[in-house]
Amino acid sequence: MTNGILDVRKVIRAGLLAGLVMSFTSAIGMVEDFDRRMIIDGLFSLGFLALLWYVPIAGYKVGDEKVLEGMEIPPKSRKHVLAGVLVGLIGGVVLLALILITNAMDLRDVFIRLSPNLVALLTFSDNPADPNFGVGAIFLIGMPGLLGAVGGALHLVSPRLRRQIVVAPTAIIVSALVKDVIGQIMRTFGLDTVVRQLYRNGAVRLVPAIIGAAIAFYLAGRERRETSRIREFLTHPDPKVRTRNSLIVGAGSIVVVVAAPWVLGSLLSEILATTGIFLLMALGLNIVVGFAGLLDLGYVAFFAVGAYTSAVLTSPLSPFFSPEWPWWYTLPVVVVVGVFAGIMVGTPVIRLRGDYLAIVTLGFGEIVRITFLSDAASPWFGGAGGIRQIPGIPLGFDTISGSDPEYIFYFALALVLLAAWVSYALLNSRVGRAWTAMREDESVAEMMGIDTVRSKLSAFIVGAVLAALGGALFSAKLGSIFPTSFELLISIVILVVVIVGGLGSIVGVVVGALVLIGVLGGPRQPGLLQEFGEYKLLIYGVILVYMMLKRPEGLVPRVRRQRELHEDELTQDDWFEKKGELSELEGGA
């Protein structure tokens, strides 16, 4: 788009991509399935969000220029809007073509979701037999065109206005998606009437949406934003004030977290408890992958071992050995078994190079799962039937099980704090520095006298123990466990959490778990957006690829890690710009 000349090839490519994204979300059934969940009452559904979200981004990105250091910033012009419109229109034409083809010939033998229902939905017809192509064509081409224009126009406005334009609709969409949370908090404080004024059938009502968007628009436009104020609050120049301020923030967050399950009610506490267990495992995996740089794809094996140990020792239905201990007594055993499992898996693999280690650990994970599943092991572990009637956690006055997610959340929280503390303490210890050195360059670390075997093994053991503890809590929460609860998916999802958050970054992992597990949900556990159902697995895959290509250091990167990944500007530019092979990026992962 330099010098105001429209780059036709780029526009066509972006338009086709936008069309492809829209066609894909339609063809996998996302648009249809999500259409039931409204975002703005009577106006806009989650389905149409899934359909159209990419178009404004494409419209913006088509005019994007990578500005490297020392380059002149190209002038902005109305061509950007034109480019955005064209991108949207081309995308719309692709989508319309798909709809027309779907209507003309029955593709359901192959693409099961390309059905008359989809055609009816996208052409705004009530009767699948009678699609309304006039309206459909206008909408399917006009709407992307409009959104593309908005995306392109973002180049012309000031950064402040751009932020406002982006934030306002995002705020409305987010507030509709987290309706359950907001509604439940308000209901706890007796504000039922307000909830009814704001939401209807899970969607924001039109008037509150407009008012809310206006408020968000205003707030986003303020020069001094709240986040910067918080940052200033925490990084006050006077150390005494700083300590006091961080104590205030710390105490405040403890109160919020402790009160959370009671404010949020048991349905959301369930999600919190699940998030806590996954966060615990993510912190454990973070030690293995993020700190020590060992890509463990069979991490779920330790989780399974912990869960089965606890189940065997507590359940009266455990087939071969059932001492029916209280849950507490099993914890030391779980820790010991975790250490043992860490050694058994860790020792054979520590000499392997990184990618082989990943595959071997994956193999271990699958061996554990299939063994628990097989008839051969059923006299011990119940085979496919699993172990049932796990009693839960005795607390003197009551027994905590899956029906009390509030308490399970507290247990998960305690273990998470333990894991975070362990991570933090280890990171700043001798072994933590050994991990860092080893990750950056193993041979050099070895030459400096670091016992790499011992360092790697200790990472494996700590990770294994944390996962095993998570498993013990998991079995108490579920009340019965089956081998199918411990599939490879869990390892992968936890890996995605760690990577999205930022490898090696404790805060990042917490953020990653809240965003991914809390909102999307675990592999089989529902999250806040229950509509996502199985689609979340697809989304996890997309997120993983996207993060690796665009932001390998994660959302909240660890400073050192970022340095490792972007060794110098030259390499970074090379990596992003794909221009020749300037220099090999050494070290890192």
Binding site: F24, A27, I28, G29, M30, D109, V110, F111, I112, R113, L295, L297, T347, P348, V349, R351, L352, R353, G354, D355, Y356, A358, I359, V360, L362, G363, F364, E366, I367, I370, T371, L373, S374, D375, A376, V453, I492, L495, V496, E534, Y535, L538, Y540, G541, I543, L544, V545, M548, L549, P552, D574, F576, K578, E581, S583, E584, L585, G587, G588, A589
Partner: protein, 368 residues
């Protein structure tokens, strides 16, 4: 003088505890296998356990499956040889081929070509599977891997896991999660064929077909890599990308060719898999993918003959192993443990012989 020699000697002999652990694992594995073998032989001598005919069928089934593993393993092996990372999504490339085979075969059943002239229909099915898999492999390389050429080694691996997930669940939602049953081949193919007229070597027609097609494809691939100009540039790029580039080879295009050839082989394997097991679903690619990677390492990563040999051995081991070793221990339900045997083979091979049977061939950047 003598004391220093002694010191040297003792240092050489001094075993790290990791080494002792690994030796222990080795000994345990050997003892475990030996006892199982003896138990099975005793059972066989007593007339218990599977009969000779059952053993023959197991071996044949193992070989048929092994040749398919070999075909998939080629893709892993060549990509690892050239780019130095495990293309985890290759199993999904294979699944794409199997899916395409299913849709094409169903279409031919509808048009009647499947019944009228099975050979033509089968050729068309295989060609379309090859085409689909090649397209998937090349697109994945273009979209996901190309911009990671210079990234640290684990980054493309993690990316490929994401790609694998994406492809798997895309297939699940686009085509449905149900298991799709592949149309039955004509009756003549299901009968047992007396190979070489020996009388005792009776092989099911489909298995024989699978073995023949796989072996022919491997031979063609071998010819391409070893005898043609494209193959020579592929080998050069696998050896050293930079020098190959200086020698006037278009490195990018050669890498794409590598992915395409690997994809085509996976496509053939996919259609064979669908034909033999007569079922395809969105997660069809996962297990064969992992096992084929094992096969690639078993034969020696980057080594084409090694991949073929490794596939064959792994298939054979997986087919025969559970009954041969585990049955001798009197373990119930051994066929469920088929995958455990394969994964155990994976672990043992990677831990004890990561360079494979025929030796690995890596590019200069990935050595050491």
């Amino acid at each position: 003088m003598s004391s220093s020699t002694n010191q040297k000697l003792s240092r050489r002999l001094r075993l790290n505890w990791v080494d002792s652990f690994l030796i222990g694992v080795r000994v345990a594995a050997v003892v475990f296998i030996a006892i199982g073998l003896v138990g099975t032989i005793i059972n066989f001598a007593n007339g218990e356990g599977p009969t000779a005919v059952a053993w023959r069928d197991l071996v044949v089934g193992g070989i048929a499956q092994g040749t398919m593993y070999g075909l998939i393993a080629l893709g892993y092996s060549m990509v690892y040889g050239v780019l130095g990372f495990i293309n985890f999504a290759h199993g999904e490339v294979f699944m794409g081929g199997a899916m395409t085979a299913f849709f094409m075969a169903s279409y031919f059943v509808e048009t009647g070509l499947w019944a009228d002239s099975f050979v033509i229909a089968l050729i068309l099915v295989i060609l379309s599977s090859m085409f689909a898999s090649t397209v998937i492999a090349v697109l994945v390389e273009r979209i996901a891997y190309r911009r990671l050429r210079n990234a640290p080694r684990l980054i493309p691996l993690i990316t490929s896991i994401g790609v694998s997930f994406f492809l798997q669940y895309s297939a699940a939602f686009l085509f449905g999660i149900s298991n799709k049953s592949f149309p039955q081949p004509p009756q003549g193919l299901l009968n047992k064929v007396d190979v070489f007229g020996l009388g005792w070597l009776l092989i099911e027609g489909t298995k024989l077909l699978v073995i023949v097609i796989s072996v022919v494809s491997m031979a063609v691939l071998y010819f391409i890599v070893e005898r043609t100009k494209t193959g020579r540039s592929m080998r050069a790029v696998a050896e050293d990308k930079e020098i190959a580039g200086l020698m006037g080879i278009n490195v990018d295009r050669t890498i794409v060719t590598t992915f395409a050839v690997g994809g085509a082989m996976a496509g053939i394997a996919g259609s064979m898999w669908a034909l033999l097991f007569r079922g395809v679903s969105f997660n069809t690619g996962f297990l064969p993918g992992i096992k084929a990677f094992t096969a690639a390492v078993l034969g020696g990563v980057g080594n084409i003959v090694g991949a073929m040999l490794g596939g064959l051995l792994l298939g054979l081991f997986e087919g025969v192993g559970p009954l041969l070793i585990l049955d001798g221990w009197g373990i119930p339900g051994v066929s469920q443990l088929k995958d455990v045997v394969a994964f155990a083979a994976l672990v043992l091979v990677l831990v004890f012989r990561p360079s494979g049977l025929l030796g690995e061939r890596l590019s200069v950047e990935d050595r050491g």
